[in-house]
Assembly symmetry: C2
Homo-oligomer: 294 residues x 2
């Protein structure tokens, strides 16, 4: 195909680096050719594939859900209450409910909730350039997976459809679930006990567990993604590491070195500089940030 | 295709039930048609897809590995030592080793070890009729997954190739792994702490976590598989449940109602009888048990 595969990417080195890598990995005549069965790509979600400001979408969901359940709280109260307050919120909004019921609750929220600044539905807060990258990778024989700190059950209610990735490739933090023979038949009940917080060094462990292969491409935006990018960089194949930098206060948010939530960026930017990983400067490299609203 | 898709199955009701179900689920004109994206099939491994007698292959591996490491033990000592002895054995043979090293150790063992009665390599102890079923399901648009009590890392060293299933669809019990920047680069070190024992009611939870969809076909052979079959039977689609019965003392082992290891069969046989699930009588239904050795 001669048409532009990444139309929302400006003609900058970031785009060149991505296209060059994909061309090499998929050209059977290239020294960097990788068999299709080994073309595994892993992506962080919050801040890498969609906007994580002014708060994680899942936190906005939890606050709305708590109010709906008659126990309203706020970001301020959460900050003041620390881990206990957060655990209580998770228990209230994510536990004691079957997986089927939780799925329905999430879908209902997603249909009505709007981002406070951009007034878009949250699934429309994904980055158009990254959608194009996921599409190009899929057409190039890559299996794209998401490894996020967000909750698996929450993400799967929208990510599979929006990103065009099957549910089993959307992996996040998970709580215990209990199998029960309920009145309406067998059901899985979500428990408040957290089994895996899928961040930092846990990401390579989760990749090993869920994929069972080492990726050749990884994208992230905070220090919580560093281990995942390091793990991918140690592949025996030529690999590609992408670091999304939030530099665009007008079209998105500018918090490149001063994250107001989530983990910092000091370590990943230092590692990226040292190793020559591909930095994506949102303001400079993307001509469009969000997709048209359907 | 008019040729026999299941040549190692005799023309009995079990075969008829399987072929009838697959035909209905894949015929877009049928009331029982299921979209390809929802054709998820889950299989237990030990005793369902390969022989689990006179002991689990992974236990034979652990005993051989312990001897190789200078700490020989025996089944008798394990029985006498109870859970402590078993935990010690797992720690000795499955922990304190990187995932790459463990993979190599398993492959070495598989290349040389032989089943004590049939003198076959362990990967040749799989059931030929079940290989044919996996193949037929794959050609019929099903995604086949394994949910076993065995260790994920152990199984993936051979199961993916032997069953023709990608590594990410081979799920078992898992221990913690620790991400470490070693002398040779990033590595994952296997820990003795067990994270998930993938048996009984844990199987539906693991299916939810790894697949994110409810299966329409499940096969097992002990009470440890009952929850998985119940979960599948509650699918909104027409579903199929298969129970493998070990009735063939000559060609395999006869322990249908008296398992000498693993969990019992009383509950699953009662449930299968009540619900009319498809029973597979190895002696009666299979014309061949093991594949030719390549």
């Amino acid at each position: 195909m001669s048409s532009d595969q990444l139309p929302s990417w400006r003609e900058t080195p970031a785009k060149g680096s991505i296209l060059d890598y994909i061309a090499a990995a998929t050209d059977s005549g290239s020294a960097d050719f990788v068999e299709e069965s080994e073309r595994v790509a892993v992506f962080d979600n919050d801040g890498t594939l969609w906007t994580e400001q002014p708060m994680y979408a899942q936190l906005a969901f939890a606050l709305d859900r708590a109010a709906e359940l008659g126990h309203p709280t706020s970001l301020e109260k959460l900050h003041a209450g620390g881990m206990t307050a957060l655990t209580d919120l998770v228990k209230l909004t994510h536990a004691g409910i079957t997986t089927d019921e939780f799925d329905a609750v999430c879908r209902r929220w997603l249909a009505s909730a709007r981002h406070p600044r951009f007034a878009r539905p949250y699934p429309a807060m994904v980055y158009q350039p990254m959608l194009e990258l996921l599409g190009l990778l899929g057409r190039s024989g890559f299996s794209c997976w998401i490894f996020s700190g967000g909750g698996t059950d929450f993400m799967r209610t929208w990510a599979a459809e929006v990103y065009g990735i099957p549910a089993h490739r959307v992996i996040g933090s998970v709580g215990e679930t209990e199998f029960r023979l309920g009145a309406g038949g067998p059901e899985l009940v979500k428990d408040a006990a957290v089994q895996v917080i899928n961040d930092g060094p846990q990401k390579p462990s989760s990749i090993h567990r869920h994929v069972g292969q080492r990726p050749i491409l990884a994208a992230g935006n905070t220090d919580g993604d560093l281990a995942m990018l390091q793990w991918t960089a140690a592949s025996p194949h030529r690999s590609l590491q992408l670091v999304v930098r939030h530099t665009d206060g007008e079209r998105e948010y500018a918090y490149d070195r001063d994250p107001i939530l989530g983990s910092g960026t000091g370590q990943i930017l230092a590692a990226a500089t040292e190793a020559g990983w591909t930095m994506i400067d949102m303001a400079a490299d993307w001509s469009t940030v969000y997709p048209p609203i359907r």
